[in-house]
């Protein structure tokens, strides 16, 4: 009994540690004061002002657009790559997998400065598209790593069977192979989308003047004080994701039953 209590107490403490900052963030989105630290009463005005704030809304739009474009690009590039790598001889294949893991272990800051050096070197203008290129670069490996295992699990006779039954190679791919590896493709895409949304460092180094993502905007605010409007935005995002996760979990439980 005591042992069990100790276990839950420990877990509880860790969760308090994990959620304390988030709870504080959410509470201050309802605080009727520009400054943190003192509670001046409940308000919803930050939520109203958030929608009217052009620069935050622009940054949000950029963040989402960049995440959509780069996760899509990374997924197409990465899925093609996984299929190509899977068709290679084992030795070449292993080399390619090692090569894929390389950027995953690199410190983000090195990726950021080296891409900056590349863009400046070839004269690519820094801004929206340089961020997209960078995001595709650090997302692709995750797609490859997510899709490859699905290809290994695939029955090697499946494609032949489809073609024996009269499917063209492209039909065999779109109607038989792709649906089989789809879970891996989706995992890769979701992972890319999340990584892109949350990225600060690489965007920070490869952006040009005037193009902000949310993370860059927040960073520039941390020096002078983050407006409660950002707290409001975070609260909205957090609640949305929490709801989504709970719905998915609920659905999975129903399926199990």
């Amino acid at each position: 009994m005591v042992k069990k209590f100790g276990k839950w107490f420990y877990a509880g403490l860790i969760y308090v540690f994990m959620y304390l900052p988030i709870v504080v963030l959410i509470i201050y989105s309802f605080n009727d004061s520009r400054y943190r630290g003192n509670w001046e009463g409940f308000t919803l005005r930050w939520y109203a002002e958030l929608i009217k704030d052009r620069s935050i809304m622009d940054a949000l739009k950029n963040t989402i657009l960049i995440a959509v474009i780069s996760s899509f690009g990374a997924t197409v590039l990465g899925t093609m790559a996984a299929i190509g790598i899977f068709a290679m001889k084992p030795k070449v294949r292993n080399f390619m997998v090692d090569l894929t893991y390389l950027p995953v272990t690199y410190p983000e800051i090195v990726i950021g400065v080296s891409l900056l050096a590349l863009y400046v070197g070839i004269g690519l203008p820094l801004g929206f598209w340089s961020i997209v290129l960078s995001h595709i670069t650090f997302c692709v490996p995750f797609v490859v790593i997510a899709v490859l295992p699905k290809l290994y699990q695939l029955n090697p006779n499946l494609e032949e069977a489809a073609m024996d039954l009269g499917a063209t190679p492209s039909q065999a791919f779109w109607k038989v192979i792709l649906p089989e590896i789809m879970p891996g493709v989706m995992t890769g895409m979701l992972l890319s989308f999340t990584l892109s949304l949350d990225d600060f460092l690489i965007s920070f180094f490869t952006t040009g003047s005037g193009v902000n993502t949310l993370a860059i905007k927040i960073y520039s605010m941390t020096k002078v004080g983050v407006t409660p409007k950002i707290n409001a935005l975070t609260t909205i995002i957090f609640v949305t994701i929490l709801t989504l996760l709970l719905v998915i979990q609920g659905r999975e439980k129903k399926v199990e039953k």
């Binding site: 630290g37 400065v113 080296s114 050096a117 590349l118 993370a215 941390t222 975070t234 996760l245």
Partner: protein, 280 residues
């Protein structure tokens, strides 16, 4: 047919060469280049950028980064291992929920979570007020802008990356091994040290890599929670590229960092074995 399929990897290979390999070569080349007084890059071989890095002032930054990264990684391991164990041993439903609770904070912006810690640690912040309210201290402690604050920030941000890989090894561990050890007369301590710990080693190694690398190169956490005082390698690189406009020196520091990463990866690769793909 197979040949045609292999061709699908060509765009990816080209992409990797252009956006991953060429940039690293550029950094490496820059790190050996001379600099004009105005900060322009002169393509003339020199080792002065590396010589500069091995001056005491910069070696101190390196040392501090390594010490802070190692201690945060150790703290994550000591705090995270029991947590991973508790989650792995929980009932099916509780387990999924507990894992979800651990991943959820990762979906809120990492800058904001770190910024929130600034509020918690400042002089009139939550912790000082709490400690004063229960009478443990009478004057506010200086918590923010210390190495301790940087460590708290790192443990906070990187703990999930330690807990999740260890958890995924522990949850797959065969209960039979533990029962067998008990039946053969091992006490709980022996069972842990001789059976559970060695079996969870791949997860521990994955966790250590996933915490140590970002901890070594972070510049946000030290920037926000350490104030100007805690200069780490990441801050140094950022300064050289964005304020000091000394790309050659920044490149040299980046190259040193790459070498450190390669060494760590090589060492851990030996022990990693099957654990490496546990996360995916």
């Amino acid at each position: 047919m197979e040949k045609k399929k292999q061709g699908l990897a060509i765009p990816y290979i080209a992409w990797t060469v252009i956006f991953s390999i060429v940039p690293l070569i550029i950094i490496l080349v820059y790190s050996f280049c001379e600099r004009t007084p105005y900060g322009d890059i002169v393509f003339k071989f020199t080792t002065e950028n590396y010589v500069k890095f091995f001056q005491p002032i910069y070696l101190k930054v390196l040392w501090r980064s390594v010490v802070l990264a190692v201690s945060s990684t150790l703290a994550c391991l000591l705090i995270g291992y029991p947590m991973a164990w508790i989650i792995a041993r929980a009932g099916d439903r509780a387990r999924n929920f507990m894992v979800m609770l651990f991943v959820l904070p990762l979906w809120t912006n990492f800058l904001l979570r770190t910024y929130a810690w600034m509020g918690l640690l400042r002089e009139n912040g939550f912790f000082n007020q709490l400690l004063m309210a229960i009478g443990l201290i009478h004057q506010p402690l200086k918590m923010l802008y210390t190495d301790g604050a940087v460590m708290v920030g790192m443990v906070y941000n990187f703990l999930p990356f330690m807990v999740l890989p260890i958890y995924s090894v522990l949850v797959k561990m065969d209960q039979g091994h533990i029962d067998a050890a008990n039946d053969l007369g091992a006490d709980p301590k022996q069972t842990f040290l001789r059976v559970i710990l060695p079996l969870s080693f791949p997860g521990i190694v994955s966790g250590i890599i996933m915490v140590f690398m970002p901890a070594l190169s972070t510049f946000i956490i030290s920037d926000l929670l350490g104030g100007g005082q805690t200069m780490m390698l990441g801050n140094l690189i950022q300064n050289q590229f964005l304020s000091a406009r000394n790309w050659q020196f920044g490149s040299a520091i980046s190259s040193v960092m790459i070498v450190m990463v390669l060494i760590t990866t090589l060492i851990s690769g030996k022990y990693r074995g099957e654990g490496s793909e546990m996360l995916w």
